[in-house]
């Protein structure tokens, strides 16, 4: 059942071979590191890029289309469906997806107009074709899956602001130069992010490039999270200490008798 994944991988290799002789994408994100500090309320990531081609490439009639994706770290997320049981609504059926915790895609044109649905799916561009491997006993597999759960997962992710499509957000600055500014919400999960760009022309993908950006907690946030994660019992003692001290101080400061 992991044929689709294999197809995607094969496709990637084909890219590597073709891009050496024809068009290539060159781009640079505005930062390699997004720091979450205590006053973090979201930010943006700007990506600049050009389409380069060697002298031997034949000029194409149509315009180039560019898709830029910011893909977050893989996390397992459970989608649950409620059913009525004895008059109350209870979580029954569920699917666990091993999917990016964040996915934003910006394109030069509406995604569906850039290429055929199957092509977009193989190139992994857009939410409609996003492969969502499921966590099954004994590992992770790409299954045919249940459409209703898949739709619910994507809808809930969009509502959280962690999945988004920005058709037309990639601006052409010149014949070969383009840029895009992707919003990063305050709820962005920490981890290693991929910036993937795919170049399309005449409905066919021509080149792909990948760069990396990390989202990290910084300063006080990072120290607290690390303490809580690594030395959790020390953190627990500190929490208790802070609670009792605050309570005691409150009792002394606002003494009523």
């Amino acid at each position: 059942m992991s044929r689709r994944l294999a197809a995607a991988l094969g496709f990637g290799l084909a890219f590597a071979a073709s891009s050496a002789t024809a068009e290539t994408l060159v781009f640079e994100p505005s930062t390699k590191r997004v720091e979450i500090t205590s006053n973090f309320s979201g930010t943006t990531l700007t990506v600049y890029g050009t389409v380069e081609r060697d002298a031997a490439t034949i000029g194409r009639g149509g315009d180039y289309e560019v898709a830029v994706m910011l893909v977050g770290p893989e996390r397992a997320a459970v989608t649950r469906r409620k059913e009525r049981l004895l008059g109350i609504w209870v979580n029954r059926d569920s699917r666990t997806y091993h999917a990016p915790a964040f996915y934003a895609v910006a394109t030069t044109r509406p995604i569906a107009e850039m290429a055929a649905a199957a092509t977009l799916k193989t190139a992994q561009v857009g939410l409609d074709g996003l492969i969502l491997p499921e966590v099954v006993p004994g590992g992770v597999e790409v299954l045919a899956g249940t459409v209703s759960f898949r739709d619910a997962y994507l809808r809930l992710r969009r509502r959280e602001g962690l999945y988004a499509e920005y058709p037309g957000a990639v601006r052409r600055l010149g014949q070969n130069l383009w840029s895009v500014t992707l919003p990063i919400p305050a709820e962005v999960p920490v981890g290693d992010y991929k910036v993937r760009t795919v170049l399309f022309a005449d409905g066919a993908p021509l080149a792909e490039q990948v760069s990396h950006v990390e989202v990290v907690k910084s300063g006080f946030e990072q120290e607290v999270a690390e303490l809580a994660g690594v030395h959790s019992w020390i953190y627990g003692l500190i929490c208790v200490g802070v609670s009792l001290l605050t309570g005691w101080l409150g009792g002394v400061l606002f003494r009523r008798d």
Binding site: R75, A76, R81, N91
Partner: protein, 309 residues
């Protein structure tokens, strides 16, 4: 002012959290309850994950009950021996609670169990409290003096084995119901992120027949220790205590409680009980509605364990 919570991994408005803590503190000061049963649902409503809300509120409850216990200690209104028995039970209950909490979260039934417990306990206690208080108010309107209830001298607490003498409360009762009460409150408190004051106070009065003037102070001591212990377990086992969130709630709560206490002193006992009963009942009904009414979205999303969410 936006503030990013390091464990909840969620940005919040600092003044909003401070205000929520203050408002709940006001109510807790007014009625002399912890207010966890209001705070946890409010935080969840605000977008904090239920697990982090429950964990962080236990730290807040430890702080607010420490304040309260201190004031009763000064007035020497605490039965330490009884508190010790209760908190031994409470800590055991807390250990079980943390385990059950983790299992329920994993199988996706935590929200359901929390909801059901809220409906059952809040509904029952709130209903009883309102009914009793309104009865008293109506009786006093008719200038009737309610006949003092005869204290039962031979209940089940006198007949069970392991009789223990509690000098301060002038009681000789079996240790079993005392430990069981502590255990039950510790378990529920851990699971629901509440101190359980609204459960333990009536139980001590009606089941154990502890003198009314010692009930609150003694239950506060048991709550401080049990909730401090719970905070430690939630932080070290489940990684669900956000110290920044808890601290903001504590500060708001301590200040709010001062104003609440001043208003509370101007009201009569039965008026306070009727208001508190209605409040508890309202929260219980809200949870019941949520369980019964068809949700707007049948699907929900949650992260698989690993850190805060």
């Amino acid at each position: 002012m936006q503030l990013y919570l390091p464990i909840a991994e969620w940005p919040v408005n600092m003044f909003m959290i401070f205000g929520v803590g203050g408002a709940v503190g006001f109510i807790s000061g007014m009625f002399g309850v912890g207010g966890g049963f209001l705070l946890t649902p409010l935080l969840v409503f605000y977008g904090i994950s239920p697990a982090v809300a429950v964990g962080s509120v236990s730290a807040q409850v430890a702080a607010s009950s420490a304040s309260g216990a201190l004031s009763y200690w000064r007035r020497k209104l605490i039965d330490w021996k009884l508190a010790l028995f209760l908190l031994v039970g409470g800590m055991l209950g807390s250990v079980v609670g943390v385990e059950v909490f983790a299992v329920l979260r994993k199988i996706g039934q935590l929200d359901l169990v929390i909801g059901l417990c809220y409906v059952v306990f809040l509904g029952f206690v709130g209903g009883f409290m309102t009914w009793e208080a309104i009865g008293t108010i109506l009786a006093s309107r008719r200038n009737e003096v309610p006949a003092p209830k005869k204290p039962r001298t031979h209940g089940i607490v006198q007949t069970l084995p392991f009789q223990v003498r509690f000098h301060r409360s002038k009681l000789v009762i079996s240790a079993i119901p005392v430990l069981a009460l502590g255990l039950g409150i510790g378990f529920l408190g851990t699971l629901l992120g509440i101190g359980g004051g609204f459960l333990i106070v009536p139980a001590m009065i009606y089941l154990l027949k502890v003198p009314a003037n010692l009930v609150v102070g003694t239950s506060l001591v048991q709550m401080v220790v049990t909730m401090a212990f719970t905070t430690f377990l939630q932080a070290s086992n489940n990684h669900t205590v956000d110290i920044v969130l808890a601290f903001l709630l504590m500060i708001g709560g301590v200040i709010g409680a001062q104003f609440g206490a001043q208003i509370g002193q101007r009201l009569k006992g039965e008026q306070l009980r009727a208001l508190l009963g209605l409040l508890i009942l309202a929260v219980g009904i809200r949870f019941a509605v949520e369980l019964v009414v068809k949700p707007a979205d049948l699907y929900s999303l949650s992260m698989v364990i690993g850190g805060a969410k």
